[in-house]
Symmetry: C2
Subunit: 394 residues, 2 copies
């Protein structure tokens, strides 16, 4: 499936409108739905509200059925109130350590050479609700992730126009959203904008986009209209929405959202040092059955889910139906598309009545496999250890 | 008072035992004590307990009367339970980016060429109780500070023995104290040691000491026995106690205690970036009258206090007895000794009955004067704005 031919064939199938995508991309079979006797989501397959203001909406993963996530099913992670912007008045400033500071209008940006790319986004806190003891922050289950097609201009092209000075080390991306964070700790120093940086080397990678289309249509306001950054393979916090300003700096940027928040610990000689959260680690999620679902006995059951590994590819997914004692290979039902998830399924032969603990674990092209236990050094981010799903077969 | 002659005279007066210091160094006159009608400290002039375990003890500043703070009046700031160490078994490791990693015993260290120096230490959170709204952390009033005489060997000499590699950028100091911080947020990643770093340039400054004597006597266990770092002019968190290991690193160290804690914000183009707390900023404290003290009318009253400015010198202190409307020069009654506080007093002529708001503000040799308002970018550290003291004259 991951051969060049299959990939090219698949890429041809990804059309440039969301309607076409829905038809052309792989979807899970519907057969197993009839076997689910109860569902915790009680009829609402849209969003789970995690916070009203700022808006933080989790996708209902049990409703995920296809390779591409539609914009209206795609999780929303906001740090501040959503800004109201118009493409007519919007400009993007590029300043700091550049030889030609400039301002780009929406019209200028959208006539530049563009690229289209499918990329998964995952909130760095996705899965936080599974942590024991509880951690502060939005209590995402599995639905702080989605896989969409983004169209925009390579950031590298705009940086080239501005002329990067040789002294520049970091590129700061500032969103038009701002506010004051008073809880959880640590607080922000009064009102601050949402801002994150990339090292120059990453910013110049041709796959980093200034995106203005999502699934072939204008970016919705919720997802960063008029223009957002897309940093494929990185956790979602890097893909700054509502871009307003890009500043090149001569010293490393240690902003609030990459030091006090969205950071983890790496140990050297036992002493932890703080690093910003960057690329997505290998992970799988079981999306059916859902937590506490009851399923019918006497039928084969299709366990299904997604697996992804940031800038790496998924090479295998294994499923256990006995709490990790034995593992069986799952079938990968979508091809390898860089930065995207892979859909997988596993046929669970006619499970017997009673409670069962299901697990899935993915392995990536670098040989990394999901851990069974949580590593505290990741604070409340990169929640990639194996999460059991307990189901009852009646 | 700050002429070379006065300074040399004063330095001669500082003997090498605490008993001698008590006699030889300046002291406030006792006259004004009789004028204080009530005191909030209700007879206990030792410590205000801020936390039992780990032990965090604030000095009762109303009991401060002399230039040198005795060890048993000196504030105690512990992050973890105090380790029990013996000088016989203790060794200090110097490792990392050095050509000759080594271990030094207490006996070896104490026969090396030593230096004696008076230096103020101030907790970076000193004054936190005055912040509105309340901030998490130990609720220090003014007494998270003290001025003591330290004897030890220059750190630079030990680094020279170990041979600093040209690739080294930071020097990490690790204490023997460790534990897990679960509150306030952010949490530590499990058990961590107390550790802080200095840039190579600071570590090589000849005034940074590996100290083993405080006020002419063996360092007490509470203050870091057998050996602690003294970084004069820096907030106290830099002067790591119970030193265990010194590691030179080739990349900047972003440890828990200089990123998630003990850090502040500096803005560039409106976007805050996180920096470790380092040197002490200019500040004064009124130590008499104390908060809510009642004093007798019809007598001149000696308002007294201390002022300090880290690596800079204090050039003036002004006092206001009318809530900042007018300011009068205070008299500096101790000479300029680098890294130390200066004692000051101001004669308040026979105050009238009623409530009065007293303020003091210091100016340093760089022209910095204390601000009247708190700057939120300092988080809950460097609390140096002018703090009013309201007293009632009966």
């Amino acid at each position: 499936m991951s051969t060049g031919l299959a990939r090219r064939q698949f890429l041809r199938n990804i059309a440039t409108t969301a309607a076409a995508l829905a038809v052309a991309t792989p979807a899970f079979a519907e057969q197993e739905h009839s076997a689910v006797l109860t569902s915790a989501s009680s009829g609402n397959d849209g969003f789970i509200i995690r916070e009203m203001e700022p808006e933080n909406l989790e996708s209902s993963v049990s409703a995920f059925s296809s390779f591409i996530t539609s914009a209206d099913q795609f999780y929303v992670r906001n740090h501040f109130k959503q800004p109201e912007l118009s493409s007519a008045n919007w400009t993007l400033a590029i300043d700091g350590a550049v030889s030609h500071p400039l301002q780009i209008t929406y019209a200028e940006l959208t006539v530049m050479r563009s690229r289209t790319m499918v990329s998964l986004l995952e909130c760095a806190g996705n899965g936080r609700v599974f942590l024991v003891p509880r951690e502060d922050g939005a209590q995402w289950a599995n639905g702080g992730m989605g896989n969409a097609e983004w169209t925009g201009i390579p950031l590298a092209d705009v940086l080239k126009l501005a002329g990067i000075k040789s002294t520049a080390v970091d590129v700061i991306f500032e969103g038009a959203d701002s506010g004051e964070l008073t809880t959880p700790n640590p607080k922000s120093p009064g009102v601050i904008p949402f801002a994150r940086s990339l090292p120059i080397s990453e910013a110049n990678h041709g796959d980093v986009l200034l995106a203005y289309h999502m699934n072939g249509k204008q970016l919705p306001p919720t997802h960063g209209f008029p223009v957002r950054l897309i940093v494929p393979g990185w956790y979602g916090m890097a893909s700054v929405k509502w871009l307003k300003r890009i500043t090149l700096t001569e010293k490393p940027f240690d902003g609030y959202f990459q030091s006090l928040q969205y950071s983890y610990f790496e140990r050297s000689n036992g002493i932890p040092t703080v690093l910003p959260v960057t690329t997505i680690s290998v992970k799988s999620a079981i999306i059916a059955p859902g937590f506490a679902h009851k399923i019918a006995r006497g039928h084969d059951f299709k366990v299904r889910g997604m697996a992804w590994a940031g800038v790496n590819d998924i090479t295998s997914v294994e499923v256990s139906t006995d709490a990790g004692k034995t593992w069986n290979p799952a079938q990968l039902i979508s091809p390898t598309i860089r930065y995207s998830w892979r859909m997988w399924e596993f046929t669970w032969p006619a499970p017997s009545a009673g409670k069962h603990t299901l697990m899935a674990r993915a392995t990536d092209s670098k040989g990394n496999t999901q851990a069974m236990e949580r590593n505290k050094d990741y604070r409340s981010y990169e929640i990639t250890h194996v999460i059991p799903v307990i189901v009852e077969v009646l």
